[in-house]
């Protein structure tokens, strides 16, 4: 049977993609950020997952406001990156696992999560930056991916509680798959930040650190917040916390924190990283 071996959260700020392409790893601005990642890469090299479920948000590359699903699951043989408007180099495609995707889709709908299935899906920095951070050697490793996209663009956004339960349903879906696969679940984005309005630049370190602790030990404590609460406490784009909660919901076993890093600022954002092991 398939098994979820762990979950990882990371910020996915576009500037990180730019810093990776320019190899700014030793730049003093970037050192406190990039130095968080080697322990995660070592763990991935040792544990060798076959598939990554990448829970992220699209920022207006694949979806526009004409049709904007709350929850979308990729079911493509591969996922393409594309220009997001900044003229950055386009990254090579990411292999999918359509058979597992359809299993997840069937299982989620049976579990009353009426998602949108996508046989074509362009993936933006919310997906690609974490993949570059965790698997700089992804082509040698051959990791397969399933993008799970949650709407954070157009309110109403799904509640933290709903996203946590979506994650639990993803966990049930993976664990009922009859192939021996090792699966890791990524929750990308966060932590506190706000890009728009007179409140741009808002960061709440205290709230972030509380979230980084609770998401490990007591995630349900975070499910009582409304989206409005999170906008107030973590900034308009701090709502990406729901992506972390969906990841955490998928870890249904005994969860232990193996590594973490938190750094302010990267671009406008408080960046957070967590590596969680999920033991059966």
């Amino acid at each position: 049977m398939a098994q979820i071996i762990g979950g990882i959260t990371t910020s996915h700020i576009p500037a990180i993609g730019n810093a990776i392409s320019k190899e700014l790893f030793d730049d003093p601005y970037w050192v406190p950020f990039f130095e968080g990642y080697p322990p995660v890469r070592d763990w991935l090299a040792d544990s060798k997952p076959d598939v990554a479920i990448v829970i992220y948000n699209d920022h207006g590359l694949n979806f526009f406001l004409d049709k904007l699903p709350t929850f979308a699951v990729g079911a493509a043989p591969e996922y393409h990156n594309a220009d997001e408007g900044w003229g950055l180099a386009t990254l090579d495609p990411y292999p999918g696992d359509p058979e597992l995707s359809w299993h997840v889709i069937e299982s989620l709908v049976a579990d009353e999560f009426d998602i949108t299935s996508c046989q074509e899906m362009k993936v933006d920095h919310g997906f690609t930056v974490p993949m570059s951070l965790f698997w700089p050697n992804r082509k040698e490793v051959g990791i397969k991916t399933i993008p799970v996209c949650i709407n954070t663009v157009q309110h109403p956004l799904p509640s933290p509680s709903r996203c946590y339960r979506l994650g639990q349903a993803i966990g049930r879906a993976i664990e009922s798959y009859d192939k021996d696969l090792k699966v890791v679940v990524l929750g990308t984005g966060g932590l506190s930040h706000q890009l728009d309005g007179e409140r741009a630049g808002f960061i709440n370190k205290e709230f972030d650190l509380m979230c980084m602790e609770k998401i490990v030990s007591d995630p349900e404590a975070l499910t009582g917040y409304s989206i409005h609460d999170i906008v107030r406490l973590a900034g308009a784009q701090g709502t990406e916390l729901i992506l972390w909660l969906a990841m955490r919901g998928a870890l249904t076993g005994t969860v232990s924190k193996l590594h973490g890093n938190y750094h302010i600022p990267i671009s406008n954002t408080a960046s957070g990283l967590l590596l969680l092991e999920n033991a059966a």
Binding site: L65, G85, S159, D196, P265
Partner: protein, 118 residues
């Protein structure tokens, strides 16, 4: 079960991009979405007014675009994720946009962020 839809307490300096704003800003956001493609960016730069008209922007939206004023774009229904693509045409990042909206210099805005980490 509380929902932000029923929470009337406004958050200062923050516009919740809800259905009302989505209706208001549709044309503006659709134009900005087109800036994902280099052709859209080039066509805009070649003739800004004609490009705005092609997407049916209203006067308020066109003025905000003309003045490169992000707060006015937000008031006119702009969504920051799409507006970021507009800013990208001019090589502006989120810190430039943040500085403009808060009336700070870019350096002061960056310092404020660093300060938040202390």
């Amino acid at each position: 079960m509380t929902s932000y839809l029923h929470d009337a307490e406004p958050i200062p300096g923050t516009t919740i991009f809800d259905g009302k704003m989505a209706i208001k800003g549709y044309a503006l956001n659709k134009m900005c979405y087109s800036f994902n493609d280099a052709e859209g960016r080039e066509a805009f730069l070649a003739d800004e007014e004609a490009y705005c008209d092609k997407f049916g922007l209203n006067e308020e939206q066109k003025a905000a675009i003309r003045n490169r004023n992000v707060l006015d774009m937000i008031k006119a229904g702009g969504n920051i994720y799409y507006l970021a693509k507009f800013a990208g045409i001019f090589g502006l990042g989120v810190q430039d946009v943040g500085a403009q909206q808060t009336g700070m210099t870019v350096e002061a805005f960056k310092d404020m962020l660093v300060e938040a980490g202390r």
